[in-house]
């Protein structure tokens, strides 16, 4: 099962690093960004500050961002809830960091890499999926693909570039 553009997404609820349940609840914001990410992937780390900047810049425009870690923490202890919480406590996240321990959400959404970025409109429809921008190594790009998609959604327009190829580390699925 994989989400496709313009599909309606199902709501989910996952715990943050303090165990508080956080729901997608797309109707609560004009747009919601879901980023599958993790603790130890160099691509996720390289793009992380740019994604945090998006979270901060667009919060005032009624956009929510949720980070989700779907990796198998049994085989990759660096992705444990404790390791996630340590990063949150260090102030590394500008948005909630959720744990998809069962990998149910990642599988339902067809997430492939960390990072893998999805944008959902207020009516719960998938409007963008892919990479933050064209080059993990160029901070000057400022997650431009994601920003443009959000600008389009906020303007009520069709997203000009709704799909790009996600680039990053493969998700560490449970055996």
């Amino acid at each position: 099962m994989t989400l496709a553009l313009n599909d309606s997404v199902e709501d989910f609820t996952l715990p943050d690093t303090d165990g508080n349940p956080i729901s997608l609840a797309p109707a609560d914001a004009t747009a919601t960004v879901v980023v599958f990410t993790c603790n130890h992937c160099p691509y996720a780390l390289a793009w992380h500050d740019r994604l945090n900047d998006v979270a901060r810049d667009f919060a005032r425009r009624d956009v929510r961002l949720l980070y989700i870690n779907p990796n198998d923490a049994d085989r990759y202890p660096g992705d444990s809830r404790e390791a996630m919480k340590a990063r949150v406590d260090d102030g590394a996240f500008a948005a909630p960091y959720l744990h998809d321990e069962s990998q149910t959400v990642a599988r339902a959404w067809g997430a492939r890499t960390t990072p893998d970025v999805f944008v959902v409109s207020r009516d719960g429809v998938l409007a963008y999926r892919g990479a933050p921008d064209a080059d993990h190594g160029d901070p000057q790009l400022r997650a431009q693909w994601l920003r443009s998609a959000l600008d389009d959604v906020l303007a009520g327009d069709a997203v000009t570039k709704p799909e790009t190829e996600p680039v990053g580390c493969s998700i560490k699925w449970r055996p």
């Binding site: 130890h40 992937c41 691509y43 390289a46 660096g78 493969s170």
Partner: protein
């Protein structure tokens, strides 16, 4: 004199190895050692990772030595390796300048004393 060995180990789950290989070959050329062949090895499972002391993709070894030695507590396994560039940014591949310096330091000059 024994020919030096340069090895690139990678895992398919990480997309960085083509860039790493290109930068490794470019670095060898830039120090005048384009004659050195790069041995490319694919790590396919946890058993191979364990046997090869593989801490992530890509891993470069020069005469068996990792020029960017991982920490002692770095777990072995199928994962992407995190490097730091000279300006502190995270990267899936080594800093090209640091790579050139390591290669120049560790590979004997082929025009050196006979």
């Amino acid at each position: 004199m024994t020919a030096p060995t340069v090895e690139l180990l990678y895992w398919d789950g990480c997309p960085s190895h083509p860039q790493a290989l290109a930068e490794l070959r470019a670095a060898l050329e830039s120090i005048g050692r384009g004659d050195v062949a790069v041995s490319v090895g694919r790590i396919e499972d946890d058993g191979q990772a364990e046997a090869s002391r593989f801490v992530g993709s890509p891993t470069i070894r020069i005469d068996g030595v990792d020029p960017f030695p991982p920490g002692d507590d770095e777990p072995l396994g199928l994962t992407c390796r995190v490097y730091r560039l000279q300006d502190g940014r995270f990267s899936p591949t080594p800093d090209p300048q640091l790579l050139r310096e390591q290669l120049a330091r560790r590979l004997p000059d082929r025009t050196g004393p006979a």
